[in-house]
Symmetry: C2
């Protein structure tokens, strides 16, 4: 363990999940953890961030680039393969500290000849178009080996084929394969050069319709190691660009350095990233590893290079979920970046600024004003979510779902991200650069969406789907109403800030958006918006109007009614739809987001009510139960839910199908949730009016946690053990920062440290037997 | 034909539909058209009006009384049966003029012995608890016949057993069987006496757990006719009553008269009913018969005796649809009674007064004020409609439907019935006797139900199901909004009338209902209520918000997607739900109800748009298409839809299953629709501010129609031929009445007649090929 994910032996059943588990990436491209001899049949994929394609009526989804790492060995006329060849051992590992993937396989060829193949690869964090792989092999006996290495353009597509008009070339020893996307005619290029480390070998070119390979026959001497490095560039370009030229020169430039040189640069950047983000847990190696692995997964998909892409719900692990960006980013991943790498956080939130026009189009399409963000957002911000998003397993017919139409909280999520970034960093430019416009347009959308109930003198938010997607089209979902209220507040605060600090921009914005009347509308609506309250007797907040009247069935009974293991529990005739069973944290998520607004009693009552009724059909659920469990002192429950969240991509035990739809891949929201469970949960950190509050409650067995955070451009190093929290303000910081440890408020000057004993939460473990 | 429904031969496949087709009844009890030797296996039923029972969690439904007509013949030790015995001929008929049922069967017994069994029966219109049957038989050879006749308490129950604690008795030759209902412990009694017409025969009593029979062995002489009359009384009573005593004395009293005497009294009443209701069509015997048959069906189920029962959607033809009263009564049957027998109409509308408390409970249950009438109403007015009203054929699981929750137009329908009665009769007592309260409470319910859309400055009616049940939970259904508006108007007019004419009652009502503020609310809402308008380009009125964006598929394509012939096309995953295919007239029904508010152009455009998209999955649909087709001059279409409506219970070709649910039975709404199609459609009669307007358009081939109507207590006789309408005001009428024939207004004094040539509608037959 430590920093290494490893697996010995080869299990064909694990090829798919290992593709996720051993992933590499740099935010611009992701490369699945498959072996270099694998093809699309093993779901090999080199996935672009932010590049999408649509074929016919099929789903629009990201493009997988041709595989520039493709390499196979032919010994005595037979291709070595873990599926069909005899092998003595196989071992593969991922080093999450420096983001390298290694494999080592010993095949048994004819006679007793052991052929050992090793490789190491990394997706450069320095040059975002570069992937490097070093391949080494030797045999125990003299033999004839043919190495075939090149670019495989026969890529894995779910709703493709996305690439057409393939062209291959070879120039100065560098090979290239280009293709054009079906919908937008963008060019996708992969160039590859190889450098043998000891000898040179003559090679033959082998070209297919969508492949270009070098075929290199070698008379191997027993015991001699042969090795070469592949330098691969993966680039896309608009019509009229010359991406192939860029790819070729990128490869050539890299070839003029060395594998070690590039790896050094790569490792250096990873070292810096870990300095910013690592969380050291003393006393629980398993938790330590799972958390680091979660952070690793977030780092390989974080866009450092662009504010026009955000993080898809399945990261860069392929085309699942259409490569679309959901609310997952703002609500489950953003806190990690906000506290550790606000520059990346800015990219993520600015993505919503760049997709505002799509959100306006969606609002208008449904007859509303303002901005209704895409439930499944891609490059343009238009909604990739289809109206029939699930297939009914009983009839094999498309099922009408309301994810796209009714999950209106997405606009609040988008606005919240921007606001959170502003609050954490104090960076008003994000508001001036379009963030304010997004927030105002989202608030306007909610005014346009909601209704006034005259009889009750209140505004209501009707016909929505909250986080619990098993209950579509409900009225006054407590979570959604709370987020609508928050959006109204943010919009009004935002206007105040602009008016105070940027009067010209304020005037221009109000005029351009014709917002004067809506400003009054928002104020009035904020006063009158209905917020479901805790029941006076039970303290439970009803998830939506009428929830409590649904069948209160236990999960075991519900599951006994299932007729097909892949049947969708929500939707028109779903088994959960008519019951109180919920897919994921809904009211409880609200209690996390607005933790200061609710008493411990209310939080406990709701956690206890909803927890047994939650099916956790979403990977977004467990971390929220962990967070609120921490908050209310249910430490054992918090730990259990944290571990479930933190290990999801290590065990691969998540839901793989909904209806007939494959939904496997990585789970960045759960990865972000794991980080939140530790920092916001166990360390109990939250921001309150500019002060950093700590309310720690470490799991039993944990000696300490140590980590760094950034607040308004200043860095702090925190270490928390069972009784004491220590904080150090970095010497480069510019001003004093207030901290509240437990109930004690302290101010910390730059370069100084403080320690404070805290009183742990009263432990009550609720339902734990 | 003429007045006789007949069928020769015996087809076991037609036993169920013949049970409907040959029905007898008198509004208090219905007796299915089965043969006297039949049992529950052939769906024999003697169904009470207004008496319901519920067992466990099953559906509450009407009670079938023990069968007092049960009679079987045993010849040479074998029971004669059309299913198993050899027979030479079988013939059965229903005379709709005097409401008698006849059968005649010639069985072939051992050797060449022909046994002829004949019977005639009627359900007395004079004594509503009485059923009489005369049985005659003879044989062609001497033989031993045992007649078994008595009371069969082993009744057909869909969701029973409803009867328990059976007791039988025999007193003074009269036998009786009583039982107690499961839920409310009401007593159900059947008494029976027989009188032989020539000889007396000794009899043995045969009693079973739920049966009591007389067994009468007879040595039959060849060629001698033996005959007896059964006098049967069917009575129910509350706990503590002595219904058995009533039943016994009812039978005895009848036995002291004769079959002929009772038949005379019965026929006399039927003659009177036909005088009031017959429509004579010259030139089209088929239409003449179908219309008379429809009127017959309405007469046998009309409650002349009570204002606490109304007409169930399947009449008194059994337990189908829970014996519940739907909107069918007010919207499809009431016009017939209003124009012909306003005393019965009063009973029907007063039923809503007596069930107001149930409607208040339903409104409160859903969090609204006012009266939300039951979608499926029984004795108490509580809703018998279940939340899971259909079974999914693919999973055999109950399917959540929203008939009960969302078909809010039912309250307007109930209020409309009362108001219509008031307008037709001028009888203000119906308002004072509770009708006004119903109308006010329904209007209040709509205010409580609706929302204000501030942005659009209008009230909207959200989340409803209109007549087209394939589209549940829609917003601003044009039909529903129109009915809500009408209800607001009725409520305000009603208040004006009471204030003007009955000031004390007005003050008391306003105070009792605490209605002062709501009176203002209703006025304001009436001003601001959103009414979907015809599209400026197409003149089509969108059925509900977003309807036009649904898939515009043709019916053939839709039906090609059907996987199971009984699958429900509506509901969560229904095939029609996501398309523009509608179950039944919806916008077009609105155009009928408010025909004066829409231009011919709008009516034509909507009829043409919706007609090809209407699946007519409800028997309420065709008559409305006939009516509007008449209105717009599409005479051929009108005739086609009229005949479809008028023959539904003659052909038995209606939908028999929805999901796994049997929905067969009679179709009184279609029967009422057939009458409407002729009188309101072809004759083009409607009321406009106290004037009777005629706008005739007879189908091709019809020479004339002649009929009577009653308006405000005055009777008029109308005769319309191709060019002229003649009207006669009865001599007993009290005042002048205004008529408008075409565009000509005429006033008719009591005892006088008038004739007026009219200009027929311009004929355009739209889509007819």
């Amino acid at each position: 363990m430590g920093w290494i994910v490893e697996e010995a032996g080869f299990d064909p059943e694990r090829v798919t999940t290992n593709g996720n588990k051993f992933m590499l990436g740099n935010g611009a491209i992701g490369y699945r953890g498959t072996l270099e001899e694998f093809t699309k049949d093993q779901l090999t994929a080199c996935t672009f961030a932010g590049l999408y394609d649509k074929v016919g009526d099929q789903w629009r989804e990201p493009i997988n680039a041709p595989n520039g790492l493709s390499t196979r060995f032919i010994v005595d006329g037979e291709q070595l393969s873990l599926f069909s060849s005899e092998y003595e051992s196989h071992h593969q590992s991922l080093n999450i500290e420096n983001a390298t993937f290694q494999r080592s396989t010993v095949y048994v060829a004819s006679g007793d000849n052991r052929i050992t193949v090793k490789s190491q690869r990394f997706v450069s964090m320095k040059h975002l178009d570069l992937i490097l792989m070093r391949v080494q092999f030797h045999s125990s006996e003299d033999c004839e080996v043919t190495v075939q290495t090149g670019i495989d353009g026969d890529v894995w597509d779910i709703n493709g084929p996305h690439l057409e008009n393939y062209e291959s070339l070879k120039r100065d020893g560098v090979i290239g394969l280009s293709a054009v996307t079906h919908e937008l005619h963008k060019t996708v290029c992969v160039a590859e050069g190889i450098v043998w480390e000891e000898n040179q070998f003559p090679e033959n070119d082998v070209r297919g319709a969508d492949t270009i390979y070098r075929s290199i026959p070698i008379s191997c001497k027993a015991g001699t190691t042969y090795s070469f490095v592949k330098y691969v560039a993966v680039i896309s370009g608009e019509q009229g660009d010359s991406p192939m030229e860029s790819a070729l020169s990128s490869v050539k430039a890299a070839m003029n350095t060395s594998y070690e040189y590039q790896l050094d640069r790569h490792e250096l950047l990873w070292k810096r990233r870990w300095e910013l983000t690592d969380v050291v847990i003393e006393g629980d190696k398993e938790a330590q590893f799972a958390l680091r692995y979660s952070i690793y997964q977030l780092q390989i998909i974080a866009p450092t290079h662009s504010e026009r892409v955000s993080i898809p719900a399945r990261g860069l692990s392929g085309q699942v979920y259409k490569g679309a960006v959901f609310w997952d980013t703002e609500m489950f991943m953003l806190p990690f970046f906000l506290y550790t790498q606000p520059d990346i956080a800015r990219n993520l939130v600015m993505y919503r600024v760049h997709t505002l026009e799509g959100a306006r189009r969606k609002a208008a399409e449904y007859g509303y004003r303002g901005a209704y963000y895409a439930w499944e957002s891609q490059d343009s911000g238009d909604d990739a979510c289809t109206l029939f998003n699930i297939t009914d397993v009983f009839t094999n017919r498309p099922m009408r779902t309301y994810f796209r139409d009714k999950q209106v909280h997405i606009s609040a999520d988008a606005a919240y991200g921007i606001w959170q970034y502003y609050e954490f960093t104090g960076d008003e430019t994000v508001l001036l650069d379009g963030g304010a416009e997004v927030i105002l347009e989202c608030a306007r959308f909610y005014y346009s969406y909601s209704y006034y109930k005259e009889e009750k003198r209140r505004y209501e938010v009707l016909d929505v789907t909250g986080p619990d997607e098993y209950h579509e089209r409900v009225n006054n979902n407590a979570f959604t109403n709370a987020l609508v209220k928050m959006t109204l507040e943010m919009a009004l605060k935002c206007l105040d800030i602009l008016k105070m600090n940027h009067r010209k921009a304020y005037d221009a914005l109000i005029e351009r958006l014709d917002f004067a009347e809506d400003q009054h509308n928002l104020s009035r609506m904020l006063q009158g918006l209905y917020m479901p309250q805790p029941d006076p007797l039970t303290s439970v907040i009803e998830q939506f109007d009428g929830y409590m009247r649904l069948e209160d069935v236990d999960q075991k009974t519900l599951k006994s009614r299932i007729l097909n293991k892949n049947e969708y529990l929500g939707g028109g005739n779903g088994l959960a739809t008519t019951t109180q069973i919920l897919k994921q944290a809904d009211v409880v998520l609200m209690l996390h987001l607005f933790k200061n607004l609710y008493s411990q009693e209310v939080k406990k009552a709701n956690w206890e009510y909803y927890e047994p009724r939650t099916e956790h059909g979403s990977s977004l659920s467990s971390c929220i139960y962990a967070l609120v469990a921490s908050d209310i002192g249910y430490a054992d429950w918090a730990y259990r839910y944290f571990m479930r969240t933190a290990t999801i991509d290590l065990t691969g035990e998540s839901k793989q199908y909904v209806g007939t739809l494959y939904i496997g891949g990585t789970h960045p929201a759960a990865n972000g949730g794991a980080w939140m469970a530790v920092i916001l949960g166990f360390a109990g950190i939250h921001m309150d009016q500019g002060r950093v509050c700590l309310n720690p409650s470490l799991p039993g067995g944990w000696d300490s946690i140590t980590f760094a955070i950034q607040i308004k451009g200043q860095r702090f190093r925190l270490s928390i053990n069972d009784i004491e929290a220590s904080i150090h303000s970095e010497i480069g910081n510019h001003s004093a920062q207030a901290f509240v440890i437990g109930t004690e408020e302290r101010t910390l000057e730059p370069g100084n440290g403080l320690s404070s004993r805290y009183i742990g939460k009263e432990r009550g473990d609720g339902l734990v037997g």
